[in-house]
Subunit: 124 residues, 2 copies
Protein backbone atom coordinates (compact mmCIF):
# COMPACT_ATOMS: atom_id res chain seq x y z
CA UNK A 1 0.00 0.00 0.00
CA UNK A 2 1.31 3.43 -1.00
CA UNK A 3 2.07 5.59 2.11
CA UNK A 4 -0.16 8.69 2.36
CA UNK A 5 0.51 12.13 3.83
CA UNK A 6 -1.72 11.37 6.86
CA UNK A 7 0.57 8.38 7.76
CA UNK A 8 3.75 10.53 7.98
CA UNK A 9 2.75 14.14 8.76
CA UNK A 10 3.33 15.85 12.15
CA UNK A 11 0.14 17.11 13.76
CA UNK A 12 1.71 18.97 16.68
CA UNK A 13 1.12 22.43 15.35
CA UNK A 14 3.76 25.14 15.69
CA UNK A 15 2.45 28.24 13.89
CA UNK A 16 3.30 31.94 13.79
CA UNK A 17 1.06 35.01 13.45
CA UNK A 18 1.38 37.66 10.71
CA UNK A 19 1.89 40.27 13.48
CA UNK A 20 4.96 38.46 14.89
CA UNK A 21 8.31 40.18 14.37
CA UNK A 22 11.40 38.47 12.89
CA UNK A 23 13.02 37.95 16.28
CA UNK A 24 9.98 36.24 17.87
CA UNK A 25 9.63 33.93 14.82
CA UNK A 26 13.33 33.04 15.15
CA UNK A 27 12.81 32.31 18.87
CA UNK A 28 9.93 29.88 18.09
CA UNK A 29 12.08 27.94 15.57
CA UNK A 30 14.92 27.70 18.12
CA UNK A 31 12.70 26.76 21.06
CA UNK A 32 11.04 23.93 19.06
CA UNK A 33 14.20 22.81 17.15
CA UNK A 34 12.33 23.02 13.81
CA UNK A 35 13.00 24.69 10.45
CA UNK A 36 9.44 25.41 9.19
CA UNK A 37 6.81 27.79 10.59
CA UNK A 38 3.44 28.16 8.81
CA UNK A 39 1.83 31.56 9.45
CA UNK A 40 -1.89 31.41 10.30
CA UNK A 41 -4.66 34.03 10.54
CA UNK A 42 -7.10 34.30 13.48
CA UNK A 43 -9.16 31.33 12.20
CA UNK A 44 -6.15 28.96 11.78
CA UNK A 45 -6.09 29.45 7.98
CA UNK A 46 -2.76 29.44 6.14
CA UNK A 47 -1.41 32.89 5.15
CA UNK A 48 2.28 32.20 4.49
CA UNK A 49 5.39 30.27 5.55
CA UNK A 50 8.76 31.13 7.09
CA UNK A 51 11.73 28.74 7.24
CA UNK A 52 15.12 29.07 8.95
CA UNK A 53 16.40 29.73 5.39
CA UNK A 54 14.32 32.94 5.37
CA UNK A 55 16.05 34.00 8.57
CA UNK A 56 19.39 33.39 6.86
CA UNK A 57 18.04 35.70 4.13
CA UNK A 58 17.19 38.34 6.76
CA UNK A 59 20.82 38.21 7.95
CA UNK A 60 22.28 38.16 4.40
CA UNK A 61 20.15 41.04 3.15
CA UNK A 62 19.57 43.13 6.33
CA UNK A 63 15.79 42.59 6.24
CA UNK A 64 13.96 43.68 9.40
CA UNK A 65 10.22 43.05 8.78
CA UNK A 66 8.42 39.70 8.65
CA UNK A 67 6.58 40.57 5.42
CA UNK A 68 9.98 41.14 3.70
CA UNK A 69 10.98 37.48 4.18
CA UNK A 70 7.69 35.55 4.51
CA UNK A 71 6.62 33.46 1.45
CA UNK A 72 2.94 34.13 0.67
CA UNK A 73 2.36 31.70 -2.25
CA UNK A 74 2.59 28.49 -0.21
CA UNK A 75 2.95 25.00 -1.71
CA UNK A 76 0.77 22.65 0.36
CA UNK A 77 -0.44 19.03 0.56
CA UNK A 78 -3.71 17.29 1.47
CA UNK A 79 -3.93 14.40 3.95
CA UNK A 80 -5.01 11.76 1.42
CA UNK A 81 -2.25 12.40 -1.16
CA UNK A 82 0.43 9.77 -1.89
CA UNK A 83 3.85 10.63 -0.42
CA UNK A 84 5.73 10.31 -3.70
CA UNK A 85 3.39 12.82 -5.37
CA UNK A 86 4.18 15.35 -2.62
CA UNK A 87 7.93 14.61 -2.75
CA UNK A 88 7.90 15.37 -6.48
CA UNK A 89 6.06 18.66 -5.80
CA UNK A 90 8.69 19.64 -3.20
CA UNK A 91 11.45 18.73 -5.64
CA UNK A 92 9.94 20.93 -8.36
CA UNK A 93 9.88 23.94 -6.00
CA UNK A 94 13.21 23.16 -4.22
CA UNK A 95 11.49 23.17 -0.81
CA UNK A 96 11.92 20.77 2.09
CA UNK A 97 8.48 20.91 3.72
CA UNK A 98 4.78 21.62 3.08
CA UNK A 99 1.89 22.59 5.39
CA UNK A 100 -0.95 20.04 5.26
CA UNK A 101 -4.29 21.83 4.84
CA UNK A 102 -7.98 20.89 4.65
CA UNK A 103 -10.43 22.05 1.96
CA UNK A 104 -10.93 25.44 3.60
CA UNK A 105 -7.15 26.02 3.88
CA UNK A 106 -7.07 25.39 7.65
CA UNK A 107 -3.66 24.09 8.76
CA UNK A 108 -3.76 20.46 9.96
CA UNK A 109 0.00 19.91 10.35
CA UNK A 110 3.35 19.86 8.52
CA UNK A 111 5.09 17.31 6.30
CA UNK A 112 8.89 17.69 5.87
CA UNK A 113 11.64 15.70 4.18
CA UNK A 114 12.83 15.05 7.74
CA UNK A 115 9.58 13.18 8.56
CA UNK A 116 9.67 11.32 5.23
CA UNK A 117 13.25 10.03 5.48
CA UNK A 118 13.04 9.21 9.19
CA UNK A 119 9.70 7.38 9.00
CA UNK A 120 10.03 5.65 5.61
CA UNK A 121 13.70 4.52 5.47
CA UNK A 122 13.84 1.38 7.58
CA UNK A 123 16.12 -1.64 7.32
CA UNK A 124 13.92 -4.28 5.62
CA UNK B 1 20.85 -4.16 -2.50
CA UNK B 2 20.92 -1.68 0.43
CA UNK B 3 21.51 1.92 -0.79
CA UNK B 4 24.84 3.40 0.43
CA UNK B 5 25.83 6.99 1.24
CA UNK B 6 27.92 7.19 -1.99
CA UNK B 7 24.76 6.47 -4.07
CA UNK B 8 22.80 9.45 -2.63
CA UNK B 9 25.27 12.09 -1.39
CA UNK B 10 25.89 15.44 -3.14
CA UNK B 11 29.50 15.93 -4.18
CA UNK B 12 29.24 19.54 -5.33
CA UNK B 13 31.01 21.08 -2.40
CA UNK B 14 29.78 24.30 -0.83
CA UNK B 15 31.99 25.00 2.20
CA UNK B 16 32.72 27.97 4.43
CA UNK B 17 35.97 29.09 6.14
CA UNK B 18 36.41 29.62 9.89
CA UNK B 19 37.39 33.24 9.13
CA UNK B 20 34.06 33.99 7.39
CA UNK B 21 31.65 36.29 9.22
CA UNK B 22 27.97 35.51 9.89
CA UNK B 23 26.75 37.68 7.03
CA UNK B 24 28.99 36.08 4.38
CA UNK B 25 27.98 32.58 5.54
CA UNK B 26 24.32 33.63 5.26
CA UNK B 27 24.97 34.95 1.74
CA UNK B 28 26.46 31.58 0.65
CA UNK B 29 23.41 29.65 1.92
CA UNK B 30 21.07 32.05 0.07
CA UNK B 31 23.10 32.11 -3.16
CA UNK B 32 23.16 28.27 -3.30
CA UNK B 33 19.60 27.68 -1.94
CA UNK B 34 20.92 25.22 0.66
CA UNK B 35 20.56 24.82 4.45
CA UNK B 36 23.90 23.22 5.42
CA UNK B 37 27.43 24.63 5.23
CA UNK B 38 30.40 22.53 6.44
CA UNK B 39 33.32 24.68 7.59
CA UNK B 40 36.74 23.52 6.31
CA UNK B 41 40.34 24.41 7.21
CA UNK B 42 43.06 25.24 4.64
CA UNK B 43 43.52 21.53 3.75
CA UNK B 44 39.79 20.83 3.17
CA UNK B 45 39.42 19.10 6.56
CA UNK B 46 36.18 19.43 8.52
CA UNK B 47 36.25 21.93 11.43
CA UNK B 48 32.54 22.57 12.08
CA UNK B 49 29.08 23.03 10.55
CA UNK B 50 26.58 25.89 10.21
CA UNK B 51 22.94 25.46 9.17
CA UNK B 52 20.24 28.02 8.39
CA UNK B 53 18.88 27.07 11.85
CA UNK B 54 22.08 28.52 13.38
CA UNK B 55 21.38 31.78 11.56
CA UNK B 56 17.89 31.74 13.05
CA UNK B 57 19.69 31.34 16.40
CA UNK B 58 21.89 34.37 15.63
CA UNK B 59 18.71 36.42 15.05
CA UNK B 60 16.91 35.01 18.12
CA UNK B 61 19.84 35.53 20.48
CA UNK B 62 21.63 38.56 18.93
CA UNK B 63 24.81 36.60 18.22
CA UNK B 64 27.32 38.39 15.96
CA UNK B 65 30.37 36.06 15.65
CA UNK B 66 30.60 32.81 13.66
CA UNK B 67 32.20 30.90 16.55
CA UNK B 68 29.15 31.75 18.72
CA UNK B 69 26.81 29.78 16.43
CA UNK B 70 29.03 27.20 14.65
CA UNK B 71 28.74 23.57 15.86
CA UNK B 72 32.22 22.12 16.37
CA UNK B 73 31.38 18.50 17.35
CA UNK B 74 30.12 17.39 13.93
CA UNK B 75 28.17 14.20 13.26
CA UNK B 76 29.45 12.74 9.96
CA UNK B 77 29.08 9.75 7.63
CA UNK B 78 31.45 7.66 5.48
CA UNK B 79 30.79 6.85 1.80
CA UNK B 80 30.34 3.11 2.28
CA UNK B 81 27.78 3.27 5.12
CA UNK B 82 24.19 2.04 4.60
CA UNK B 83 21.65 4.88 4.31
CA UNK B 84 19.39 3.60 7.08
CA UNK B 85 22.31 3.53 9.53
CA UNK B 86 23.00 7.22 8.81
CA UNK B 87 19.29 8.12 9.00
CA UNK B 88 19.14 6.60 12.46
CA UNK B 89 22.22 8.59 13.49
CA UNK B 90 20.59 11.82 12.27
CA UNK B 91 17.40 10.94 14.12
CA UNK B 92 19.31 10.41 17.38
CA UNK B 93 20.91 13.88 17.11
CA UNK B 94 17.81 15.66 15.68
CA UNK B 95 19.82 16.87 12.66
CA UNK B 96 18.82 16.93 8.98
CA UNK B 97 22.20 16.51 7.26
CA UNK B 98 25.75 15.16 7.69
CA UNK B 99 29.05 15.96 5.95
CA UNK B 100 30.57 12.88 4.26
CA UNK B 101 34.26 12.60 5.15
CA UNK B 102 37.19 10.29 4.29
CA UNK B 103 39.50 8.62 6.81
CA UNK B 104 41.58 11.77 7.28
CA UNK B 105 38.42 13.90 7.87
CA UNK B 106 38.59 15.58 4.46
CA UNK B 107 35.13 16.67 3.27
CA UNK B 108 33.89 14.65 0.26
CA UNK B 109 30.32 16.01 0.14
CA UNK B 110 27.04 16.32 2.07
CA UNK B 111 24.13 13.96 2.70
CA UNK B 112 20.80 15.55 3.77
CA UNK B 113 17.28 14.29 4.43
CA UNK B 114 16.41 16.28 1.28
CA UNK B 115 18.68 14.04 -0.85
CA UNK B 116 17.39 10.89 0.86
CA UNK B 117 13.68 11.57 0.42
CA UNK B 118 14.01 12.97 -3.11
CA UNK B 119 16.25 10.18 -4.40
CA UNK B 120 14.80 7.17 -2.55
CA UNK B 121 11.02 7.77 -2.60
CA UNK B 122 9.87 6.75 -6.08
CA UNK B 123 6.54 5.30 -7.20
CA UNK B 124 7.32 1.55 -7.47
C1 LIG C 1 13.98 27.62 -2.06
S1 LIG C 1 13.83 26.95 -0.43
C2 LIG C 1 15.44 26.32 -0.12
C3 LIG C 1 15.81 26.18 1.32
C4 LIG C 1 15.06 25.17 2.16
N1 LIG C 1 15.26 23.84 1.68
C5 LIG C 1 13.63 25.51 2.46
O1 LIG C 1 12.74 24.69 2.13
O2 LIG C 1 13.38 26.56 3.03
C6 LIG C 1 13.74 28.44 0.53
C7 LIG C 1 12.51 29.25 0.29
O3 LIG C 1 11.40 28.41 0.07
C8 LIG C 1 10.29 28.87 0.81
N2 LIG C 1 9.43 27.75 1.17
C9 LIG C 1 9.70 26.75 2.03
N3 LIG C 1 8.65 25.92 2.12
C10 LIG C 1 7.70 26.40 1.27
C11 LIG C 1 6.36 25.99 0.90
N4 LIG C 1 5.79 24.93 1.40
N5 LIG C 1 5.69 26.74 0.00
C12 LIG C 1 6.25 27.84 -0.54
N6 LIG C 1 7.49 28.27 -0.23
C13 LIG C 1 8.20 27.57 0.66
C14 LIG C 1 10.86 29.54 2.03
O4 LIG C 1 9.98 30.49 2.56
C15 LIG C 1 12.14 30.13 1.49
O5 LIG C 1 11.93 31.44 1.04
C1 LIG D 1 19.24 20.42 16.48
S1 LIG D 1 19.30 20.76 14.76
C2 LIG D 1 17.63 21.16 14.38
C3 LIG D 1 17.44 21.99 13.16
C4 LIG D 1 17.80 21.43 11.81
N1 LIG D 1 17.03 20.27 11.50
C5 LIG D 1 19.30 21.24 11.54
O1 LIG D 1 19.73 20.10 11.25
O2 LIG D 1 20.02 22.22 11.64
C6 LIG D 1 20.12 22.35 14.77
C7 LIG D 1 21.53 22.30 15.25
O3 LIG D 1 22.15 21.10 14.81
C8 LIG D 1 23.44 21.41 14.32
N2 LIG D 1 23.81 20.44 13.28
C9 LIG D 1 23.27 20.31 12.05
N3 LIG D 1 23.90 19.32 11.39
C10 LIG D 1 24.83 18.82 12.23
C11 LIG D 1 25.83 17.76 12.13
N4 LIG D 1 25.98 17.03 11.04
N5 LIG D 1 26.63 17.53 13.20
C12 LIG D 1 26.50 18.25 14.32
N6 LIG D 1 25.60 19.24 14.47
C13 LIG D 1 24.78 19.52 13.44
C14 LIG D 1 23.37 22.79 13.77
O4 LIG D 1 24.63 23.42 13.75
C15 LIG D 1 22.38 23.44 14.71
O5 LIG D 1 23.05 24.06 15.77
Amino acid sequence: KEPRVRDIMTRELVVGKPTDDIKSVARILIAKGVDHLPIADGEGKLMGIITSWDLAKAVAQDKRQLHEIMTMKVVTAKEDEAIDTVVRRMEQHNISGVPVVDHSNRILGMLTVNDISKKLIRRP
